[in-house]
């Protein structure tokens, strides 16, 4: 099973490199979609069906949003001259980050044997305490309901922000139409 995970992750890494390095913006967005759907398939095989379904829906919606932004404008590459300082700084940071990651992973429990001090109680007593057969739903809506409320507030705020940013032109148009309707010369 672990071999399958490694093959999928290598496929996703190839997709990510293509998404970062390709010149055409539309193909970059679609190559990022490879990573998203790969994550969804991995969720399914990691025994997380709820998240796999959510990830497919969110991936389709984010592809639609990104394609809307790309096709609106020129999708030509603008990397005329290479910014060498940013490249070197990025690569140095990447090296330091990978080093620290390997240092941290040595002390973690190995893959496949999670440390479940709290979650073991959810699995063994979740049905009696909440009455939900799906333990994920029990955690979202019963044990950690305040977290879910806070996350709903975050979603609401971000959607409100996007709405406000995209709205300003519509307001101006109504204003001009009112001028015409009342008959005030400009």
């Amino acid at each position: 099973m672990e071999t399958f995970f490694i093959i999928m992750l290598v496929l996703m890494i190839i997709g990510a490199i293509i998404a970062v390095e390709t010149k055409n913006m539309l193909s970059a967005v679609i190559a990022a979609g490879v990573v998203g759907f790969g994550v969804s398939v991995l969720f399914l095989f990691l025994k997380a069906p709820d998240i796999a379904i959510t990830q497919v829906i969110v991936e389709v919606l984010s592809l639609i949003i990104l394609i809307r932004v790309t096709t609106k404008a020129d999708n030509e590459a603008i990397e005329r001259k290479i910014d060498s300082f940013a490249n070197i700084a990025g690569l140095v940071f990447v090296g330091i980050f990978v080093g620290f990651c390997i240092w941290a992973f040595v002390d973690m429990t190995p893959f496949g044997t999670p440390l479940m001090r709290v979650s073991q109680h959810y699995l063994s007593a979740g049905l009696e305490e909440t009455g939900a057969a799906n333990t994920v739903a029990a955690v979202i809506l019963d044990y950690r309901a305040y977290d879910t409320l806070g996350e709903a507030v975050v979603i609401f705020t971000s959607i409100l922000g996007a709405f406000v940013i995209l709205r300003s032109r519509g307001k101006k148009k109504i204003y001009e139409e009112d001028y015409v309707k009342v008959g005030i010369p400009e």
Binding site: M12, L66, V69, E79, F111, G112, L123, S124
Partner: protein, 116 residues
């Protein structure tokens, strides 16, 4: 261990894309890649060998379920995190569209140079 490191490679590609690329949509794509990688990492931590999904079927043994079910806690938190990712992506895309309407370019260095 190998799985964790391969997952971190995707995160690192996202960070590199965010730092070194100048196109605004490339930066958004780097952010999205980092998001996917972190979500996947949290789920990978909770996986058990020969695990079963944390959904109790009617004809399933309770002791077997408690012994082999995968960790439900990161799954519940990642579920909302994915949806929050969609919200922030919509916000970033809205900013990018506004900036393009104002400056007629997606190049970050051009946008930094212009005033007003």
């Amino acid at each position: 261990m190998v799985v964790y490191i391969l997952d971190m490679v995707i995160l690192v590609i996202g960070i590199y894309c965010l730092i070194a690329k100048r196109h605004l949509i490339k930066k958004i794509i780097g952010m999205v890649l980092m998001e996917y990688s972190v979500n996947l990492f949290l789920i990978l931590i909770g996986y058990r060998h020969n695990g079963i999904a944390p959904i109790l079927m009617p004809d399933e043994n309770r002791v077997h379920f408690a012994q082999y079910g995968v960790d439900p806690l990161p799954q519940a938190l990642v579920l909302t995190s994915i949806v929050i990712g969609l919200g922030t992506l919509a916000l970033m895309a809205a900013y990018a569209m506004r900036l393009y309407e104002k400056y007629r370019t997606f190049d970050m260095s051009e946008i930094r140079r212009l005033k007003g």
